[in-house]
Amino acid sequence: MTLLFGRLPIGWLQLTHSRGRFFAAVAGVAFANLLVFMQLGIMGALNSSTEAPYAMLNADIILSSKDGNTLTDGGHIPRTRMFQALGVAGVTEGTPLFIGNLPFTLDDGSSVSLLSFGMDVTKPHFAGQAIAPLLENLNIESTVLLDEGTRGMPALVIDDLMEGGRFSFETGGNTLTAVGTMDVGGGFLADGMMIMSDQTFLRAFPNRTSGAPNHILIHIADGVAVDTVVARLTEAIPSSNLRIQSLQASANSDLVYMSTERPTGIIFGFGVFMGVLVGLVIVYQVLSTDVAEHLREYATFKAMGYGQPFFLGIVFEQAIILAVFGFIPGFFVSLGLYAGMVSFTGLPVEMDVNRAILVFFGTLAACSLSGAIATRRLANADPADLF
């Protein structure tokens, strides 16, 4: 380490001189890391469960009701919009998409809600890659595909379905039969998801009509820019209640809505902020105490001719040591807690590399900031007081 700094690693020696305090400081940073990781993990789960249903779809443009907030939380639009859209240059095909929530009572008496998607199963090219090949199974009336991760569903049922079995259940007076599974995972939106044909959907939701779907999915011709067609559609369909956007833009605006307008998003954002604050305070406390305790030594070094950069170097060296040593346990404990959360809640809480890198550099930045504040105390080291 002497080689690394071109001097003795005083920051390191100072920190590790009192083991107990060093351990407490590292634990503090690790704890702050843990807080941030947990909040980001849940926020990530929220985001991925917002995006999850989009994986079931395959379209270039989506027409939605303007009063809707997200894909799964919105009003209806008239199906005639689809025919209007088909008249626009560049549009090749369209299909209505129905979305609704079905309650389902489990054997143990508890109730789960199943977010149900109804679409024309003869047009599998409007479905996501993983689901498209399965859609032909849904030609038979009252059959559905059930999400593997459906909360509360006995594992036995899912296992059986995956091995080609069937599972019939009653909901709202109708009997539906699951003939297969799909892997969507939408923990925050509902307990589970189902996909079915539009005919089955209309049977399961007697108060819905075929003339009023939730969305209309549009495919456009090759070689035409999505934005161009969106602009044409906007011009061709002068409806004040219609939102026309690319599927990607719709997913993005759902994310923005969920993370900025829904209380959940704000709560987790606030949680991250609190975690960072806790870390800042802990590191500042440790570093400034350390500076205060070594004022005499620093004054001696000043008298010997060491300049300000030397002292700043010590404090930042300590800040970085705390950041690195705190991050490592924080990261691994977070991995453990993520796994625990997945098994308890079924939420898609996963560690991704970008988040780990982000938190690591955030930790470095926060520790350096604390260090920078702590260095103000260095001014108190006055060599004239030594005599």
Partner: protein, 229 residues
């Protein structure tokens, strides 16, 4: 001014501001010869420590002039002061060793202020001076495990290891027994003879007074006696 390593002309120094402003030293004029061992004496509050810190570039010189190694300290920039301090060696009354560093590492701090340099050479130099001061078997001890006298000798080693041109010491032998106090002063004297190192020391230790080249007595901030031996 002369080419003496330390020169003062009309040096005054005040503490405090406004009504509380109090003059600590009055019109000090001194030329301290190269290679000499000068002792500053006087009762407490006589201004000897203030004078020492002014010469040591640790306090700002405001009235009058102090010239150290051909640099006028009045109005000198912080960079010049930091640079000058590296050419001085301080021995404090309290040892002021860094508790987290071993004896050798503390001594190395006195060398690394001049740049990282050759680590092996530096370590050798640090060991050599510790050996000279009778600390060969204490090289890797932390200050917490050394006696008061041993700590003070480490502090002396730290001040001397980089061959400073001027050594400023405040009661350096207070914590030392007769023998090691004698060793330290003898070392300073021979450094003066061989290398021309100039030493200014605040002390009341009669054993040292005998060995000093010059004894300056201060009272109430003024020089009342200046005796060459």
């Amino acid at each position: 001014m002369t080419d003496a390593p330390i020169t003062t002309r009309g040096l005054d120094h005040y503490f405090g501001l406004g009504d509380a402003r109090k003059q600590a030293i009055f019109d000090i004029n001194l030329d301290i010869a190269r290679g000499s061992l000068t002792v500053l004496m006087g009762p407490s509050g006589s201004g000897k420590t203030t004078l020492l810190t002014l010469i040591g570039c640790l306090r700002e010189v405001k009235d009058g002039h102090v010239q150290v190694l051909n640099n006028d300290l009045n109005g000198a920039s912080e960079a010049v002061l930091v640079d000058l301090r590296r050419r001085l060696g301080f021995i404090f009354q309290a040892h002021n060793l860094h508790e987290s560093l071993t004896a050798t590492q503390n001594v190395l701090m006195g060398l690394q202020v001049h740049g990282s340099g050759n680590a092996v050479k530096q370590r050798k130099a640090a060991h050599h001076i510790l050996d000279l001061l009778g600390l060969a078997d204490r090289r890797n001890y932390l200050p917490g495990n050394l006696s008061g006298g041993q700590k003070q000798r480490v502090a002396v080693a730290r001040a001397l290891v980089s061959n400073p041109e001027i050594i400023l010491a405040d009661e350096p032998t207070a914590a030392l027994d007769k023998e090691s106090g004698h060793t330290v002063v003898q070392m300073l004297k021979s450094l003066g003879k061989i290398r021309g190192t100039t030493t200014v020391m605040v002390t009341h230790d009669p054993r040292i007074l005998e060995m000093a080249d010059r004894i300056i007595t201060l009272e109430d901030g003024r020089i009342v006696m200046d005796k060459l031996q």
